[in-house]
């Protein structure tokens, strides 16, 4: 069998919007077939995964809370991927940000260092430290790439494991709550170090508002600023960018800084908003799922916003399905993988028409 790709004569906006939607539908169909093969009711599972979470207030809030880290990270990744830089270590930058921002929360625990100033500055400082932590951690692969041409793919990924082990050590060692019955957890952060809940009795916290703000800023940066244009040009036509006099090293470092900073911000928002303390593990794989979000959203901020909500829906639906139908939680991970595979294939179909030839070559 032979597959021939013929470039479509012109790009169609409609096709490019339909491609990820089609990919999502195909991925859901594949998921349905797998669930049927496991001897379960596909309709019931679809209801639990995709319908029920959208019909209840608390699960809608859970979707927003889970979508915001995904969106924050994925918007940052879009800067890297657009510039053809493969930062796949956002999970590590998320942890670094959560740890550095959370550290300030632990430092000021019980009213320490607040004195006459009060505690109003703590949250803002935590957010800045969080973004800084992720940014600095992302500088390791970025500088190695720019100075020494070391593959950022491998270094950024290796640093994920290092960050996970580092946080594990901190929470089991110096940051352990002395009154925590020897459990590997830190103290619960003070109210001054916790992002306030938006509505009484809900789970929506102030950090959720960051996602739409960041999306709006990124959309403007991409479409209206010289920097956004440079990032896109360096990625799609590096030679042209060099002829144009753009410094691709500066752009690479800036893209990594944005990406790491946003991942770190997402990390500290998670620690201070949802978890409220430091644990050995603070992420259910947001840094990796955000890669899917970035591609499903076609590396555009608005697309990523929608894609983040979709992926968050699979997280929430997956948890519900574990409880209600006793479906394994890893189904969600496998589904997310299938979804990314479908998105990549659909992307090609939007740009090329396919011709299958069977048997002898034409």
């Amino acid at each position: 069998m032979r597959i021939d790709l013929d470039a479509r004569p012109q790009r169609s906006a409609l096709r490019e919007i339909l491609a990820p939607v089609g990919a999502l539908i195909v991925a859901i169909l594949i998921g349905g077939i797998v669930i049927a093969l496991m001897g379960r009711s596909t309709i019931e599972a679809f209801d639990v995964y995709f319908v029920e979470p959208l019909s209840q207030s608390y699960s809608l809030q859970a979707i927003a809370v889970k979508a915001s880290p995904l969106i924050l990270i994925a918007v940052g990744l879009a800067f890297c991927y657009r510039a053809n830089l493969w930062n796949i270590g956002a999970e590590g930058q998320f942890i670094a940000g959560g740890a550095l921002g959370g550290w300030l929360g632990l430092l000021t625990y019980g009213g320490a260092y607040q004195g006459a100033l009060g505690g109003w500055w703590i949250l803002a400082a935590m957010m800045i430290l969080g973004a800084l932590g992720g940014l600095l951690y992302a500088m390791i692969p970025a500088l190695l790439r720019v100075w020494l041409n070391v593959s950022e793919i491998l270094t950024s990924l290796m640093l994920v494991y290092v960050a996970q082990l580092g946080l594990d050590w901190l929470v089991r060692g110096p940051w352990k709550d002395p009154g925590g019955h020897n459990l590997p957890v830190s103290v619960n952060l003070d109210p001054e170090a916790t992002l306030p809940i938006l509505f009484d009795g809900g789970s929506l916290h102030l950090g959720v508002l960051l996602a739409p703000i960041v999306v709006a800023i990124a959309a403007v940066v991409f479409s209206k600023t010289l920097f956004g244009y440079q990032v896109r040009l360096v990625g799609s036509a590096p030679k042209a960018a060099r002829f144009g006099g753009f410094n691709d090293r500066t752009i690479a470092i800036a893209a990594f800084a944005i990406s790491g900073g946003l991942a770190g911000l997402a990390g500290v928002v998670e620690v201070s908003g949802r978890i409220g303390q430091l644990l050995p593990s603070i992420s259910p794989g947001y840094g990796f799922s955000a890669i899917i979000v970035a591609f499903l959203g076609r590396l555009s901020p608005v697309g990523i916003f929608i894609a983040g909500l979709v992926l968050a829906l699979t997280f929430v639906g997956g948890e519900d399905a574990q409880i209600a139908l006793h479906l394994p939680g890893d189904l969600t991970l496998a589904f997310q993988g299938v979804l990314l595979i479908c998105v990549l294939a659909a992307d090609v179909l939007a740009r090329y028409s396919l011709r299958f030839t069977w048997g002898a070559r034409s």
Binding site: L144, L154, Y161, A334, G337, V348
Partner: protein, 309 residues
């Protein structure tokens, strides 16, 4: 510190055991990358190999059936990757990541029913007399078949890739696919076979983990070894024999961590456990100083090929 030959042999045997999965996965990846395809899905193919291998071996009570199933698992995973990157010319980095994410989920689904189950490890060679020799007996004459196969495979791939016409053709496709295509070489066919071979090797590497190294299944048991094997390919400058040396080095680092823990050295376990990952970064940095322009990598590595007629 005393030099007990028994202890030294024990350490060497563990180093070889830690090196074997890295070597198997890296040899497959060398072939794929020499053909110009960067398959970052190594971790995903390995973990699927580990879970299918253990599942089939447990159900049939046969290590051999497990190995065949695990290799097939790796090959099928790589077929998905080949369809995306060779058939549809998608971005190879993104497709590799997709394969790893999908593989982790799939492997945990397959292995879900086997958590906590154990079986006997793969049998080790035993030659009366030879295997009992001090210092080298078990090291040379008492390994399991994975180890011997990995070394044979390294030799065979090294010879085939560097000394045969077919190997030269494969390397040519990886250096310049347009020239290859204009000479009538079936570029995409060769890449397909190279990727499938890489998938089989990764599956076998996974099997080694779940059937011999630790003969049980646990989620995420590959623990980044697929990624380390990718770094190993860079370390080896895409040469099979150097991958063998690199695998022993990386295996040694992993064992060093174990040894320190065993001796009760007061270093946090987490720091020791992060040594393989830190070493990988350091090795990549050192290599880049030697080859700063990336001249050693196959020239067409990672580039999609869309033939025009």
């Amino acid at each position: 510190m005393s030099f007990d030959p028994q202890q030294i042999q024990d350490i060497l045997v563990i180093i070889v055991a830690a090196a074997t999965p890295l070597l198997l996965a890296a040899i497959g990846e060398v072939v794929a990358e020499r053909a110009g395809v960067l398959n970052l899905g190594l971790e995903g193919m390995m973990i699927v190999g580990a879970s299918t291998g253990f599942a089939f071996a447990y159900l049939t009570d046969s290590t051999m059936v497990g190995v065949i199933a695990g290799v097939m698992g790796g090959v099928l995973m790589s077929a998905i990757f080949a369809f995306l990157t060779i058939g549809l010319a998608t971005n190879q980095v993104a497709a590799g990541l997709a394969l790893t994410i999908f593989g982790r989920g799939l492997a945990n689904l397959i292995g879900g029913g086997f958590v906590g189950l154990k079986r006997a490890g793969a049998p080790h060679l035993y030659i009366p007399g030879l295997s009992d020799l001090p210092l080298v007996g078990r090291l040379i004459f008492g390994e399991d078949f994975f180890v011997y196969f990995a070394i044979l495979l390294t030799g065979a791939v090294g010879y085939w890739l560097m000394r045969t016409r077919a190997g030269l053709t494969l390397r040519a496709v990886g250096e310049n696919h347009i020239s290859g295509h204009s000479l009538g070489v079936p570029v995409r066919g060769i890449r397909l076979l190279a990727v499938l071979f890489g998938g089989g090797c990764a599956g076998l590497a996974g099997c080694y983990l779940s059937l011999s190294y630790t003969p049980f299944w646990s989620p995420d048991m590959t623990a980044g070894r697929g990624w380390i094997a990718l770094a190993l390919v860079v370390f080896a400058s895409w040469k099979p024999w150097r991958a063998l040396a690199g695998a022993i080095l990386f295996g040694g680092v992993a064992v060093l961590a174990l040894a320190f823990q065993g001796l009760g050295v007061p270093i946090p376990a987490q720091l020791l456990n992060s040594l393989p990952y830190l070493t990988t970064i350091i090795v990549l940095v050192v290599l880049s100083l030697r080859d700063s322009r990336g001249a050693l990598a196959p020239a067409s590595l990672g580039q999609a090929f869309i033939p025009d007629r």
